[in-house]
Amino acid sequence: MSNTFLFPVVSPLGPEIFLAAVACCLVIFDSLFKEQRNIFPVISITGATVTTLMVASSKGLGFSGMYNVDGFSVFFKIICLLALIFTVLMSHNHLKVLGVKREGEYYSLMLFACIGMMVMASALDLIVLYLGLELMALSVYCLVGIQKKDKRASEAAIKYFLLGAFASCLFLFGLSYIYGATGTTSLPVVTSFLTGEGIKSNPAFLLGLGLVLIAFSFKVAAAPFHMWTPDAYEGAMTPVTGFMSVAPKAAGFAALSRLLFEAFPALHGNWVLPFEIMIFLTMAIGNITAISQVSIKRMLAYSSIAHAGYALLGLLPGTAQGVSATMNYLFIYLFMNMGAFAVIVLLQQKGLAGERLEDYKGLAKSHPVAAGLMLVFMFSLTGIPPTAGFIGKFNLFVAALNAGYTGMVIWAVIFSAISAYFYLRVVMLMYMHEPQKEVAIVRSGALSAVLVMTLAGVLIIGIYPNDLLHLAGMIFGK
């Protein structure tokens, strides 16, 4: 053991440190400036935008190889940061409508969650991965329960908290077995151990790996570990639900892809069968249960489970093409899902109004623009061209077909056809029914900006998909 102290290389962590400083400022300002509530979203968005620019140019290994900023992690970080910006834009007005005080607290929690996700995307060591995971998860539990007087929010938060904490315990227990079998927590070193035959059939190591993968299946809401999703998504505030359905999921996928392709590529044969079963269940449960929902938020919760199933399909073959298809899909999903949630925010009032599917009856007559936007996002979620959702699904299916998983692709196509029923039902309610009661709209400039950006994302990627695909392909092709 050497006695020299080396100061760790922190420069690759610049964006994270900056964002953490902004988040701390928000906490302090929250108690200093009680009256000027408009400054909080401005600070958060400025901070997030600057961080995005910093992330785009950051690169390198930090903390003696524990923290890796490469193209792959930058891609996921940008997804999380864009989700953060969209959510902050959606939130300001909605917080006023719901009467939530303490805005600084709300935005700082969101920023801390985003830092956690960025750490997860870059982690090259299981300890760092754990810390990122917890920073993200603990902040999101609080965000779900931020409406302290609301019965549904506190119930959702406690359900999410208990299952999330349980998943972290499984992750740590798995981690302790991986540590026991290999003597290290560093992913590249664990990978170098995997060349021997002995470790591949070591039951303790495989148990550890299995538990770690189960923990991440919890985080990305894959069946049969999805039980928390509908309740947490329904009880949380709508902008938080939109955030949760995109950003933590992307971070979970980042960690999962890194584990499966960089750390344990040699074990592909061990995990491929359980994964096939999990993907089948995820698509089946997500798509079939969504049909019977009466709340649009709960329907989108099941739809997000189903989309996790499609995205996992790209990880199944273990090829670079598959991973880049999953990355693209998550990027596209950011735009279409955030857009759908932004429309819900537009229609939502205090209480349940604007959350039930029946509130959408005849929307095309009373608010044609909102209905038109919802139509595009629902088409994209179904996967109908020329929207981005089609491109995303198409790439995933091609990647899986090229690797020879024809059976899984057939199931995925069947389940997407089933999903058309509940997505297009929203469209049918909006366009083919008479308005039942007056639905008020809460307009705001920031919300319109989100709608425009998400709409542009969905249509531009849908019509000119090549640029994005090359980007993700280049990153993963390395």
Binding site: L138, K149, E155, L162, F166, C169, Y177, G183, T184
Partner: protein, 100 residues
């Protein structure tokens, strides 16, 4: 000399107790305690492995876990308190607002 496998067995038993308690208990505070039990089983495992392999990583991780567990307990109890104010109960069977 106590062998490593003894520690790991105790840890596995503690962890199973935690999992069993978490899945069968209906009181939210008991469920939170079961999570703490699981975390401490993990800590025991890590410290034992770390000592046996003469590697410091495991012990460092234990400190991280203790710190995170404290934050987790604070947030968990906070959420249980807000829930109790709204629902007047800490039992899972009373959490019936969200379903479908």
């Amino acid at each position: 000399m106590v062998h490593l496998s003894w520690y790991m067995t105790v840890s596995a038993i503690l962890f199973s107790m935690g999992v069993f308690g978490f899945l069968t208990r209906r009181n939210l505070i008991m469920m939170l305690l079961c999570i703490e039990l699981m975390l401490n089983a993990i800590n025991l495992n890590l410290v034992a492995i770390s000592h046996y392999m003469e590697d410091m990583r495991g012990q460092v991780l234990v400190f991280f876990i203790i710190a995170v567990a404290a934050a987790e307990a604070a947030i968990g109890l906070g959420l249980i308190v807000t829930l109790f104010r709204n629902v007047k109960s800490v039992y899972t069977e009373d959490l019936t607002t969200l379903k479908g």
